[in-house]
Amino acid sequence: MAVVDPLIELRGVNKHYGTLHVLQSIDLTVGRGEVVVVIGPSGSGKSTLCRAMNRLESVESGEIVIDGRPLPEEGKALARLRAEVGMVFQSFNLFAHKTVLANVSLAQIKVRRRKKEEADRRSRELLDRVGLAAHADKFPAQLSGGQQQRVAIARALAMDPKALLFDEPTSALDPEMINEVLDVMRQLAHEGMTMVVVTHEMGFARSAANRVVFMADGRIVEDRAPEDFFTTPRSERAKDFLSKILTH
């Protein structure tokens, strides 16, 4: 698929875990403002792909380019680039020893070098946006899963990232909390945030994604518009996978 203004580009990316070839010459381009949903069976390499995009996972070969710049190996340059690509985890990973407000402010102060008052002001704005302004002084453990995940999104947004990566952001949530998180994500998509989302939420994929990338056994098997993919999957793997999740 031709992408007009690429923001994230992966070319021939390979990674092994021992003898397991988790990423097999992956080519993927995500355009600015695009929302790409990644789906696929468990163990197909979705998380690894997502984590490779900000180098939480190193790769052996191939190129990863963010906004025209190749992802650096380690050190300061990598840290700077990571600040541009936010990440939201399945298990939220809020800093357990800090309040909600401090969670959102910490990296603004440490990485963006904002003054504390300025960072806190921005944090409160973002918390308000995800509907949690009233919880700023609580600790993460005092919030529900859905609330924690919305704080995590606010924390990622606080860095003013160019793109956001989501690795199964709603998989650890009770059903009634899934929508409050998806709503925030839909809103972001609507505002033009570039997003890569690993999820099995078909509703979200249909309503918010520009493309669906289907992975199996470390390869990208299909990369298509959501409606096309869900209604007429081409590969046997995708048909098989969809029949399994749609009957659930």
Binding site: L56, L81, M87, N93, L94, A96, L106, V111
Partner: protein, 214 residues
Amino acid sequence: MDVLTDNFSLYAEGFLGTVELTVYASALALVLGFLMASFRVAPVGSLRVFGTVWVTVLRNTPLTLLFFAVMLGLPRFGLVLPFELFAVLALGCYTSAFICEVLRSGINTVPRGQGEAARSLGMSFTQSLGTVVLPQAFRTVIPPIGSTLIALAKNSAIAGAFSVTELLGTYKTLSELGYNIVWTFVWIAVGYLIITLTISVLFNVLEKRWGVAR
């Protein structure tokens, strides 16, 4: 009983010697242990190797041997220091290996995702270790660090054999003066107890203050 009142200044001198050794060596052990623990979890391979070698060598050398090595070895390389300083070096380095491992086990109790979240926000290794991982590790390591420092206080007795003034060493003078050896040792033991109980109390307070469950 007389042994204490008659020789109070001797006891006091020994007691203060042990306190000094304990305080300085503890400070050194904490700083070095912190540094080595950072090395052992650093993303730089050579630092990890250095930390591992440091811990392996120091933790597996008998402390007495280490004292010999420092007191007799370092002067051969032209480094001549007061015995007290050598003793602090030997004790501090030795204990730093244990502090390092305690800190590292504390770091391992912090879920991986905490450091990953910090790094994904663009924080450097030092920032994520210093502001996210260690403050959480700190809560779980307070009690074992207390135990390690209590062991250090008692280990400082070895310095007496290297003509450093400390508490245990006072028994030699007192037994030469003909005092009852049992009472001599009872009062020495009380001296150590005062020091080790102080450390216990200090760490209990720290634990109450910082070691709260999340």
